[in-house]
Symmetry: C2
C-alpha cells in the first residue's frame, strides 16, 4: 500500500521568467506537499513537472508536506571581467525566484529553493538553513528530476565507473540513457538544445543523471561506502543544477550560465597565472619510445629535458612538461601500490638545474604530480611538493589520479584508508583543496582524471585546466583510438563545462607503431582553436614539428587567451567552427572541424572589424585530403587578403578541418 | 589515462552445459586478468561477454589480475518434496562448474565463482573464503554484468524508489530500461525468454539491475547511507544471480530454478503452516466505508469481526484477517510517527475473546503487524507480539512496512536510529529475522511491502507469502487503478519469484465510490488459480459474496495447495492459462486471463487422467462480457462432462477470464 496515492490538484507557488521572457519556470505544490518545477520555452513545454527534494539518512524525508513560507523575486544585471578565458567580459543577467518552504508536520523544518532564469537557461539550487531540527544533514538521495517533455536525442558519457569519463561519448535516444555524467546534451525534435550540468560543485557529491523511465532523468549522487553521499553540518547550499537552453548547438556553447552561477574570484591578483602553450617529455612515453620509469629508456632525463627547453625557447613555448621525473614510476605505481615521491627525482633528472636553465631561456618547467589515485598518501606529501616547486620557480602543475578502473584511496577518520570514487564528496573536497593550497604558493593546477568542471575557475582562477574526457593519448595506444567524430562530440558536451587539456597537434598523425589517427593535419591545427584551454600542449615529438614547419607555424602563432569567442557553425557530433579574438592583439583565429563527412561551410567574416583589411593565413585540407588514407597529410597553406565583408568557403575533408589566422594589415 | 587499455586475447578458464546440452556457459579471462562469462543457447549467443567482480571499500579492487587456481566440475540430479507449493515434487538437475581464482599481485587473494546450468537456465554466485588478506569484506560495487546479445523487449519494474515495487510493470525495448528490480523478464527477437533474478538473498543487499548502455545491464546493490552496501566478516557466499531461460513465457513459469538454488528446509516439521483461504476486515477500509483508526467508523470491532468469523465458518474459509485492531492507527502512523502497539488492541476489539470464538468455529484470526516502516521500533516489540499471538492460537501474521515514499527506520549501532532502504542488507536481515523468529512460535508470515522473494520459502516454509507488487488495493483508490493487463503482466514477471498475496475476488468489480475496475467477474475467479499463493484472500465485502452466490461457489471450492502446475498458454503481458491439481484430491483447476483483447484459446485437457470422466464446472465470460461497461458482470456458469481427450475453447472477453473446476465423476 502507498499512502496518499490519490489524485492531486497542483498549486502554483511561484513563477519566474528569463529577461527576454522566452523561458518561464513554474514551481508547484500538490496536495501531499510535494514540490515540482516545470520549464516552458516560447510557450511550449520543455521540462514537464519534475520533482524536487531529498531523502535523508538521519531524519525524515525532505520531499513531502511542504508549504510556502515566503516568496521573493529579484533581478540582476551586471558584467564582470575574467582574468583569462574565452572572452574578457561576461554579462550576468537573470531573474530570480526564491521560495522558502516549511514542513509543518515535521517541526516546521525549512528548506529553500532558488531559481535563476537567464536568456540562455535555468539554474536552481537548494539552501539548507541553520536550524535545530536539522543540525547535521546526511543526504542519502537527492530526488531532483529532469523530465524532458519533447522527444529528444542525447549525447552522453557513462558514469558510475571509475574511468567512465574517458569513455567515448555516446549518441542515443534520450530514453536509452543509462547512468550519465554531466554535461549531458540533448536535442529535441524541434531543434531545441539543452545541456544538463551543475555549477559550483563544492563540498557535495558529484551529480550523475540516472534515466528512470521514458525521458525522466533523476539526480544520482556519487555514493560513498563510508557514509551518506553528502554529509554537512549547519547551513549550506547545494551546487546549482543547470540547464543551458538554446536553439542550436552554437547557442549552447555561447552560454556563460555556469560561470555566472559561480562565486566571484576569491584569489585577487592572479597575474601569476599564465595562459600559454607548452611542449614536453610525454608523447614519447605514450608511443613507448621511452619510459616513465627508470632505466635505459627513461624519458625524463636531464639531457632530454634540455632538448625540449631549447626547443620551447626557440619556438616561443612558455612551458615544458616532464613526466617521469620523480621516484615511484617503477613497478605497480597505481592505487595501493603507489609510492611516488613528490620531492625526490630520479638520479638522472636534475630538477633544480633544469628549472634554472629553463628560466634563463624564458621557459618554465611544468610540474607533474601523479598520485596513482592514492589521495591519502598525496595529501601527506602535497605541501612539501608544492613548496619545492614554488622555491624552484615552477609555477604550474599537472596532476593525475590514474587507477586501473579501480577506486581512489582516501584517508579514514581512524587514521587508516579506504577506497572510494573521486567524484564523491570527499573526492570533490580533495580536488578543491589541492587547488586552494596551490594558490597559497602561486601555483596553477591542471588536473587529470579530475572531477567534472563546474566553473570554479571563476572563484579560483589558478584552476587552469583539466582532462575529464577521452584525450589525445588514446590515439597513441587506445583500444579503440579516438573516433573521427570524437572532437566534434566533445565541443557541445564536455567543452560546455570548461577548458580541456586535450593536447592537440599530433602532426605526425600516428600513434604506437605508426597506427594512423582519425584526423588530417589541418584538423590538428584547428583543434588549437576549437578545443579551449588557457594552457595548451603541442603534444607531438619535437622531431615531428621540425619535419612540418609549414603547419607548425600556426601552432607557434596561435594564442590561448581570448578577448572574445563566437561559435559560427555547430551541429552535435558533426562539425563546429569557432572564431576567437586574441586578448593581447587585434588578431582573430578560426578553427573548423568535421567528423567523417566532408563539408563545405560558408564562413562570413563579419566578426572582423569593419573597414579594416586583414591577411588571412589559411591552413586547409588539400583537395584529396582524407583521414582514411595517406592523403591525411595533404594540407594547403595559403594567404589571402580579406575584410569583414568577405565570405570564405571552408572546404573540410573527411576527418578534416581548417585553421586560419587573421592579422590586420 | 587508463592503464591496460590495450587489445586483449581471451583465455577460456572453463565451460559447463545444461544436462540436455542446449545451454552452454563459458568463463574467460583476458590479459589483464579480468573475468567474464558468456551464455549460448542452441549454438547462438544469448549473453555476450559479461564482466564479473567487485569493487571493495576496504581493500583493492576484486576484478583484475585473476588467474585460475583450481577448476572443478560436477553434476547433480535429485528430486525433493515441498511441504506446500505449486507442485509437490521438484527435480533439481544441473551441471556445475566451480572456479577458484587468485589475484597473485595482491598477496594471492582468492575468490571463487560457481556456475550451475540447468535445462531451464543458469545460476551463478561468488564465494569469499576465509583469508587473512580479507578478514572483512566491504563491497562498494558488485560489477556483475548481463550483456544481452540479441535485441530484446523488457518487462520491468522500476527500482531505486521506496515504493517502486508497487509501480506498474513497464514494457519497453531493453535498451530503454533505467533501474529495474528483479525479476526482469525479456523476450528476444527470436522468441527466447529470459528472467533475470536472484536466489537465496540472505545477509546481502538486494540486487537491482541498472542499464549501462545498449543492452548491458549491471548489478546495482541497494545502497546504505551508513556503510558499504554489503559488509561481511569472514567467509560468505553471495546470492545466486539467476537467468531462467525458455522458448516461451510458459516455460519461464514452469522453471523451479530459483527454488532449486535455495537451501533445503531448515525448519523440519511445518505441519503448523496451513495453506488456506481467508476473508477479513480490510477491503471496507480501502473503500473508505470504515477506518483503521478509532472512532465511529472503526472497522476492527468485536462485532464486525464476529460477522466475518461467522461468514468464514459458514463458507469454509480458515482465516479472518483484521486490520486496525491495535493501538497506533490514529494520526500519522507511518515512518517516524509510528507508535503502533503490537500487544494492545483498541478498546472495542476483544482479541482473546475473538480468537477463542474463531477457534470454536474452526476458524483462525490472522494477525496483523503494520510497522509503518519503523523497523527499529518493531524489532523491540516483535517478540512480545509473537508471544501474544502464539498464546492465543493465532498462527499466521500479515506484516506491513508502509512508508509514504520515504525510507524505513533502522536501529543504529549507537542506540539511535537512521533511515534506509528496506532492500538494503540491513533490511534483508530484518525481514528474514522476522520469519525465523516467527518460526520459533510456529507462526507463518505474509510480508507486505517486503523485500523481493528469492525462494527462501524452501528453507523457511513458514514464509508463506508476500506482496511485493501492485496489488488489488490499487483498484480501490489507486491513481491510476490497475490496468487491464496488470495481472497478465504479473504472471511472467513478479510471479516468477514466488507467491503473491494479491487478494483477488472483488466480485463487485468496483472500488471507492463505485469506480469500476478493469476486469470481468470471470477474471476475478480465474485469478485464484493464476496468481499463486498458498494463502489467498477472498477480498471483497461479505455482502458482495452473498450477492453473487453462483460465482462465489468457485471461490469456496478452489484450494490453494497443489500437487502439480502446468502453464498451458502464455504470452508476456497478453494472456495466461494455468492448470493446477489439488494436492488433497484428484480435482484439477484451470484459470485463464487476458488483457484488454478478447481471445479464444484452445484448452486441450490432456493433463486429466486418461480414461476418466470429469465434471467440468465452468465459469466463463458471457457473450457480451466486456470490462469497459456494465457487461463486465456477464458470467455464464455451466457444467460439462469431459475427458482427457476433450478440447475446450476458452472464449475470453476483453479484460476477461475463465475458471474451471474439474471433479472426477
Amino acid at each position: 500500500m502507498l499512502l496518499g496515492a490519490t489524485a492531486h490538484a497542483d498549486e502554483v507557488l511561484g513563477t519566474v521568467s528569463s529577461p527576454n521572457h522566452a523561458i518561464s519556470v513554474a514551481v508547484e505544490r500538490d496536495d501531499g506537499g510535494h514540490i515540482a518545477y516545470a520549464v516552458q520555452r516560447n510557450g511550449k513545454p520543455l521540462i514537464a513537472s519534475s520533482k524536487l527534494g531529498f531523502l535523508l539518512a538521519n531524519a525524515p524525508q525532505l520531499d513531502i508536506g511542504f508549504t510556502l513560507a515566503k516568496k521573493t523575486t529579484s533581478d540582476h544585471d551586471d558584467t564582470w571581467e575574467q582574468p583569462w578565458g574565452e572572452r574578457r567580459y561576461v554579462r550576468n543577467h537573470y531573474q530570480e525566484l526564491r521560495l522558502e518552504l516549511v514542513q509543518k508536520e515535521l517541526n516546521n523544518r525549512r528548506l529553500a529553493v532558488v531559481f535563476r532564469v537567464f536568456d540562455d537557461g535555468v539554474g536552481f539550487r537548494y539552501e539548507f538553513p541553520d536550524q535545530p531540527e536539522l543540525p547535521d544533514t546526511r543526504i542519502s538521495d537527492e530526488l531532483t528530476e529532469f523530465v524532458v517533455a519533447p522527444k529528444a536525442t542525447a549525447w552522453w558519457q557513462e558514469a558510475g565507473e571509475k574511468a567512465a569519463l574517458e569513455y567515448s561519448i555516446r549518441k542515443t535516444p534520450l530514453a536509452e540513457v543509462g547512468m550519465a555524467n554531466t554535461p549531458l546534451t540533448i536535442r529535441t525534435e524541434d531543434g531545441t538544445h539543452i545541456a544538463f550540468h551543475e555549477a559550483a560543485l563544492v563540498d557535495y557529491a558529484s551529480m550523475w543523471l540516472r534515466k528512470v523511465d521514458g525521458q525522466k532523468l533523476r539526480a544520482h549522487l556519487t555514493p560513498s561506502a563510508y557514509g551518506a553521499p553528502v554529509e554537512r553540518h549547519g547551513a549550506f547550499t547545494t551546487p546549482w543544477r543547470t540547464m543551458q537552453i538554446a536553439d542550436n548547438a552554437a547557442g549552447l556553447y555561447m552560454s556563460d550560465l555556469v560561470l555566472n552561477l559561480n562565486e566571484p574570484n576569491k584569489l585577487g591578483d592572479v597575474s601569476w597565472v599564465h595562459p600559454s602553450k607548452f611542449v614536453g617529455v610525454w608523447w614519447e612515453m605514450h608511443l613507448e619510445n621511452s619510459t616513465w620509469g627508470s632505466g635505459a629508456k627513461h624519458g625524463a632525463t636531464t639531457a632530454n629535458t634540455k632538448r625540449y627547453i631549447d626547443f620551447a625557447a626557440r619556438n616561443g613555448f612558455r612551458g615544458v612538461l616532464v613526466e617521469g621525473w620523480n621516484l615511484g614510476w617503477d613497478g605497480n605505481w597505481s592505487g595501493s601500490g603507489s609510492s611516488f615521491s613528490f620531492t625526490q627525482s630520479y638520479p638522472d633528472f636534475d630538477l633544480p638545474a633544469l628549472s634554472a636553465y629553463a628560466q634563463q631561456k624564458g621557459v618554465r618547467l611544468i610540474g607533474h604530480h601523479e598520485t596513482g589515485g592514492n589521495v591519502a598518501r598525496y595529501e601527506q606529501q602535497m605541501d612539501a611538493g608544492y613548496q619545492l616547486y614554488a622555491k624552484l620557480g615552477v609555477d604550474s602543475i599537472k596532476s593525475g589520479y590514474v587507477t586501473d578502473g579501480g577506486e581512489a584511496i582516501f584517508p579514514s577518520a581512524d587514521g587508516g584508508t579506504h577506497f572510494g570514487y573521486t567524484d564523491s564528496q570527499e573526492g570533490v573536497r580533495h580536488y578543491l583543496k589541492a587547488v586552494t593550497e596551490a594558490a597559497r604558493y602561486k601555483l596553477a593546477i591542471d588536473t587529470h582524471e579530475p572531477v567534472k568542471d563546474t566553473g570554479l575557475r571563476r572563484t579560483y582562477p589558478n584552476w587552469i585546466s583539466r582532462e575529464g574526457a577521452r584525450g589525445m593519448e588514446y590515439n597513441a595506444w587506445g583500444n579503440p583510438i579516438n573516433s573521427v567524430d570524437h572532437e566534434v562530440n566533445l565541443v557541445f558536451t564536455r567543452m560546455l563545462s570548461g577548458p580541456m587539456d586535450y593536447t592537440p597537434g599530433i602532426l605526425s598523425l600516428e600513434g604506437v607503431k605508426g597506427r594512423p589517427i582519425n584526423s588530417t593535419q589541418a584538423k590538428q591545427l584547428a583543434s588549437f582553436v576549437v578545443i579551449y584551454s588557457p594552457i595548451v600542449m603541442a603534444a607531438d615529438l619535437m622531431e615531428n614539428y621540425e619535419k612540418y614547419p609549414g603547419p607548425f607555424k600556426f601552432i607557434k602563432d596561435v594564442p590561448t587567451d581570448w578577448a572574445d569567442t563566437r561559435v559560427l557553425h555547430g551541429a552535435m557530433g558533426e562539425y563546429a567552427t569557432i572564431a576567437r579574438k586574441d586578448r593581447h592583439s587585434d588578431n582573430w583565429y578560426v578553427g573548423s572541424i568535421t567528423d567523417g563527412t566532408a563539408r563545405t561551410l560558408p564562413l562570413a567574416l563579419t566578426f572582423l572589424d569593419p573597414g579594416k583589411r586583414y591577411v588571412a593565413e589559411i591552413y586547409r585540407d588539400g583537395e584529396q585530403a582524407d583521414y582514411r588514407n595517406s592523403h591525411r597529410f595533404d594540407i594547403v597553406i595559403e594567404k589571402q587578403t580579406v575584410t569583414a565583408a568577405t565570405v570564405l568557403q571552408l572546404k573540410l575533408a573527411p576527418g578534416g578541418g581548417q585553421a586560419i589566422r587573421f592579422t590586420p594589415q
